[in-house]
Symmetry: C2
Subunit: 288 residues, 2 copies
């Protein structure tokens, strides 16, 4: 996994090499190369290899999902959105480069994501590349990631958000890009429709699981254990799974989601499925 | 031409049909369906037909370039960019829907543009679609439209902008999306590399011509004739072609650009080239 993350970092560094115009490439590099576990690229590559594909088939898609993840963070942090000054302990993009450049750096990363896939993908028939681009665009747009961001913005301070709405927000805001990551990897690697759909279901369950566990930890752990302010969802008046279901039912739900995620991987070669199994296990059992 | 614009409007209306989540689709529709001459889509379709292609091959690309044009206007109008309250006499997107939704509506339109091309293009071999997507992404990103926007933002109030920088700004900010429009049309329609490159050169000259003529009109016409404030470039301290070259040399430059644009079309069927010839003529000789 560490080797994969290093390979992804190298590919990202090349994709946004420091070139003219300097300022916009500096801003893109600042956020894209700021670290991070590269979960989405690694999922993308793992899904490709799981269905029998090779690394160069998936690498441009792996870079693309990380670029889109970064773009959504840059735009989310803007004063008109979440208004965050810090991300991973560093000043946010607009704090360093100004809001105008931050908006444009996000736009440029979004465009570059599609350019990477279209221009850099190797050894994959064009029909698969077109299908992958269609999936990615749909999953990050007004019915995907953006839908989740809009619902999240709209639901703030609203008390009548139900379980269905809460699931919608997280399936779109968090799970949709994980879904894109594995679906693109599986398509590029030549997976069957059945394999693609199993991996899609795996990613949706794992994405939702991530959020349920996050909500539980916020209630049950101290700030010291979390390394961030505990109970802040409650203070912020945010609707969470424990709030709607109680802690016990939330734990049951998390268990169910993990079982579904793992179940989707059952038919695959266990050795090749190991990175995906490990990710779901980590998400399910993390304590901070 | 009018029939084409109506067909484009219909296709755009379908592409962003009012569907859940309602608010983001409302915001996207508000700016995308606000009128406009649909110059870019018409160029895209004309280029496709010029090289022997049929309308359905180009229509998704035609919608895509208009979505990207709209997205760049929405983001350009934001308070952190040009801070415009009005566009075509209507309140700008963020004035109606708020800044957060305006940022997200732009992001969603950008994603939808690529989705349209990947999912809706008919009768075109996938390899051409992939090539077209690669061209579009490159031309709108950090080395295309975004590069022009960044250079424009950075050059404001700077007195040492030279002819080369000024050309760079307009080739990127204005011409690059015109270039994408005809290049995508020509690729989808099955044009040869030579045909694609001629149309590319046509679009670059026409895009630059548009700006040179705009700058000349700003100096030579009264506000009444222009229907907008004359001399505002001078007041804003903006560098323009007349400022760098003088009026006479600017007129010569415009003539040269128009000759080059028209020259690129010389080898094509005159009947099919007519919409493109007409556009360059209009751009060259407009009086307001």
């Amino acid at each position: 996994m560490l080797g994969k993350a290093a390979a992804v970092n190298e590919a990202l560094d090349v994709a946004v090499s420091l070139r003219p115009p300097l300022r916009i490439h500096e801003a893109m590099r600042y956020s894209l190369l700021a670290g991070g576990k590269r979960v989405r690229p690694i999922l993308c590559i793992a899904a490709c290899e799981l269905v029998g594909g090779a690394l160069p088939m998936a690498m441009p898609s792996a870079c693309a999902v990380e670029m889109i993840h970064t773009m959504s963070l840059i735009h989310d942090d803007l004063p008109c959105m979440d208004n965050d000054d810090l991300r991973r302990g560093k000043p946010t993009n607009h704090k360093v480069y100004g809001e105008a450049i931050a908006v444009l750096a996000g736009d440029a990363l979004l465009a570059l994501a599609f350019e990477q896939i279209a221009v850099k993908t190797e050894g994959v028939p064009p029909a698969r590349i077109v299908r992958a681009i269609g999936e990615l665009a749909r999953l990050i747009g007004a019915e995907g990631v953006v839908a989740g961001q809009v619902a999240d913005v709209s639901s703030e301070g609203m008390s009548n958000v139900g379980l269905k709405e809460l699931e919608f927000i997280h399936l779109k805001k968090t799970a949709a890009l994980l879904e894109a990551s594995v679906v693109l990897g599986a398509i590029m690697g030549g997976g069957s429709n059945d394999e693609v759909e199993k991996l899609r279901s795996f990613a949706r369950s794992t994405g939702l699981l991530f959020q349920v566990v996050d909500d539980i930890l916020d209630v049950t752990k101290s700030s010291q254990e979390l390394g961030k302010t505990a109970g802040k969802d409650l203070v912020a008046g945010k609707v969470t799974f424990p709030k709607l279901l109680g802690i016990e039912k939330s734990r049951e739900f998390a268990k169910e989601l993990n079982q579904n995620a793992q179940g989707q991987l059952a038919g695959f070669d266990p050795k090749k499925a190991a990175p995906l199994v490990a990710l779901a296990d980590y998400v399910a059992s993390r304590q901070s």
